[in-house]
Symmetry: C2
Subunit: 348 residues, 2 copies
C-alpha cells in the first residue's frame, strides 16, 4: 500500500553532484564559480537584513525584473524570477506537461530534464546529439503528444553551443515550445535572448549560480513573451524568491564590471585548462561554458575520477546511456587548475 503517485514510486530521483561541505577537497564537480561574488551583492544583502526579515518578499521580485530588463534589453514583463533556474524548469514543466504527454531533450545533456518529466508522469523522447554536437531532424520530428523540448545551450557536459540561427530553425520546426536552458550562456559567444521577441515558442532560462557566483543564494529567471509569463506565474509558489536573494540578485545583475572581470578570468583559465589537458593526452571538446568535458586516450575516465578524488580533487564522472563516459572538469581558479594538472601529470 502506497499513498504516492506511481510516477514518484517508480522513479529514482535526481542525484545532484557531491556537496562535501567543510572538506578540503578542491571542488571542480558542479560548475560553481571559483571566485567570491561581487562585494555589491554582499552590501545589498546586508541592507536587506537591516530592513528586517519578518515581512514577506515581493512575490514578483520587481526590483530584479526592472534592473535585469535594462541590462538585457528586454521587457520587464517578459521576466519571471525563480528560486534558482531549477525552479524555473519545474514551473515550465508543470504548466505545460500533463501525465502521458511527451517531452524531448538531447542526450547527453542535463539529467534533470528526465527527472522533471518523471515527476510529471510524462514520457521522454531522448534524441542523441550527432557526433559534431549538432541536432538532427529527429529533434524536430512531429509527435502529437509532444508538449515541451528542453535544450541546454551551452550544453552540459559538452560545453558546445548551437548558434542562434540553428535554435531559431529548431523552434520553427518544433510542434511545441522550446526551453533554451542558458545556465552557461554568459560564458559563450552567442545566446538566444533576442529570439524570444520573434517567436513565442522560444523561452530562455538563466541562472545567477554560475556566472554571478551565487549558487548558494538560489536565483534564476525565465525570459519569455509576457502572455506566457503571466500563465507561468500561476504555477509558481507565491513567494518563491526570498528577500535576500532578490536583493543580492538585483545588485549582481547591476554590477556588470565585476561580471566582465570574472568572466574574462574564467575564459582565460578555460583556454589554459583545455590546452594543458590536451598535452596530457586528453581529448577535450572546445568549451563555451565554465567546464571542460574530456576523455583520456589511455586511462578509463572512472579510474581517473577515483584517483583524483583520492588525491583531493573532485571532478564529475558521467556515463551516459547510448553515449560514452567522460570527466567534466569545472574551470576553477588558476591555482586549482595548476593543482589538478599536476596531479594528472603524476597519474598518467
Amino acid at each position: 500500500m502506497t499513498y504516492f503517485r506511481s510516477s514518484i514510486t517508480s522513479m529514482t530521483g535526481y542525484v545532484p553532484g557531491e556537496q562535501p561541505h567543510g572538506s578540503k577537497l578542491i571542488k571542480l564537480n558542479t560548475n560553481e564559480n571559483p571566485y567570491p561574488c561581487s562585494p555589491k551583492v554582499l552590501a545589498a544583502i546586508g541592507h536587506a537584513i537591516r530592513a528586517g526579515l519578518q515581512k514577506y518578499p515581493d512575490p514578483l521580485a520587481t526590483a530584479f525584473r526592472q534592473r535585469a530588463a535594462e541590462q538585457l534589453k528586454v521587457d520587464p514583463e517578459s521576466i519571471l524570477c525563480g528560486n534558482g533556474s531549477d525552479d524555473i524548469l519545474t514551473i515550465i514543466t508543470r504548466a505545460l506537461v500533463d501525465p502521458g504527454d511527451v517531452v524531448r531533450y538531447p542526450n547527453p545533456s542535463y539529467v534533470l530534464y528526465q527527472t522533471l518529466a518523471e515527476i510529471q508522469g510524462a514520457d521522454c523522447d531522448v534524441v542523441n546529439f550527432e557526433h559534431d554536437w549538432s541536432l538532427g531532424d529527429k529533434f524536430t520530428a512531429a509527435n502529437d503528444r509532444l508538449r515541451l523540448a528542453y535544450l541546454a545551450n551551452p550544453n552540459s557536459p559538452s560545453g558546445t553551443v548551437l548558434p542562434p540561427d540553428d535554435v531559431a530553425r529548431i523552434a520553427d520546426a518544433l510542434p511545441c515550445p522550446l526551453l533554451v536552458d542558458e545556465a552557461y550562456a554568459d560564458f559563450a559567444e552567442t545566446n538566444c535572448l533576442e529570439l524570444v521577441e520573434q517567436n513565442d515558442k522560444i523561452m530562455v532560462s538563466r541562472t545567477l549560480s554560475k556566472s554571478y557566483a551565487l549558487a548558494g543564494l538560489r536565483f534564476g529567471f525565465l525570459v519569455a513573451q509576457p502572455q506566457l509569463i503571466r500563465e507561468f506565474a500561476k504555477a509558481k509558489d507565491s513567494y518563491n524568491c526570498d528577500s535576500l536573494a532578490i536583493a543580492g540578485a538585483t545588485a549582481a545583475i547591476d554590477d556588470q564590471s565585476w561580471f566582465e572581470q570574472t568572466r574574462a578570468a574564467i575564459l582565460a583559465t578555460r583556454i589554459r585548462l583545455t590546452d594543458e589537458l590536451s598535452k596530457l593526452g586528453f581529448a577535450c571538446i572546445p568549451s563555451q561554458a565554465n567546464f571542460v568535458w574530456c576523455r583520456h586516450s589511455d586511462q578509463a575516465a572512472e579510474t581517473l575520477y577515483q584517483q583524483l578524488k583520492t588525491s583531493g580533487v573532485l571532478v564529475r564522472y558521467m556515463n551516459y546511456p547510448q553515449w560514452e563516459d567522460g570527466l567534466r572538469i569545472t574551470v576553477g581558479t588558476d591555482e586549482q587548475i595548476d593543482a589538478i594538472l599536476a596531479i594528472l601529470a603524476g597519474l598518467l
Copy 2:
C-alpha cells in the same frame, strides 16, 4: 492556440495578501510577526555570507534537520525542509495527487489548497466547518478518488484549533493522508507533532515565517514518517533551500529563549486585541493563532476594511463562498494595535 495545460489556463491563480513595500501603512494583513527575528539568526546569516555564496547549499539542509529534531524531539530523518511551507505543500500535492484525483479541505480555510489542486488538475471536495468550527462526518467520508486532505490547524481565518485527539480520529477515518498545516501552531495550546509517529497518514507542516519572524527568508518544513520523507524528497528541487535560509533557520530554531519571549508578547497582545474589539461591538472568535477573525454587528466588513486602509492600516478582508465575510487582523505590536483600535473607535 495555447501551449498550456487546460488546468493552468482555466485557473485564476493564487493572489497573496497585498505587500505594499516601502509604504507607511501599518501592515496587519498577512500574519507576519511584528518583531525583528532573533539576533542570532542575523549572526548566523552573516557567518554564512562570509563563508561565501558561490557554492551550492546542502540539498537536505542537514544542519537544520539535526537541530530541529532535537528541539522537537523527532527523528531527523522525519524532517523535509522547504522554501517556505508553501514549497512543502507543493511537494506533497505533486507527490500524491494526479489529474482527476480528489483533494479535500475545509471551508473557510487557506485558499492556497484550491490553487494547488487546480495546478495539479485535481478536483476539490470542500467541506464546510460546522458552526462551532469542528468538522463533521463529511470530512472523513469515503471517496475512491480522494488522495489527500489538508487541514490548517490552527485554521485561518478563524484561529480555531481541532485538538490532537480529534485530528487522530479524522486521520484514522480518512482513506488518504492528512496534511496538518501547522503554520500557526506555535501560537496554540496544542499541536499534532506527536501523532506523526503513531500514524503514517498524519503529516505536519511548519513554517518559520510567523512564529520566528522570518517570512522574508522562506523556510518551512514537513514532519512525516521517514519512508514518506524519502519519497517526497524526489519531488523537490535539489537545492530548494538556500545557504542563508538554512543558516538562519538553524539559528532560529536553536534560540528558544527569543521564541518564548516573542510568543508571550504576541499572546498577551492577542488577548488585549480581542477584548478591545469586543468592547467596540465586534464578534471575535477566540484565536489560537497570531490573528483575530471578527465581524462587527453594525458595520459591513468590507466598508471597515476600506476605511482602515484609507486611515493607514491594512487588514485582510475575506469573503468565503458559502460562508460569511469578515476581517482578519494580525496581532501586531502593542503600538500598532493601539493605532487600529483608536481608528476603529473613531469610525464606529
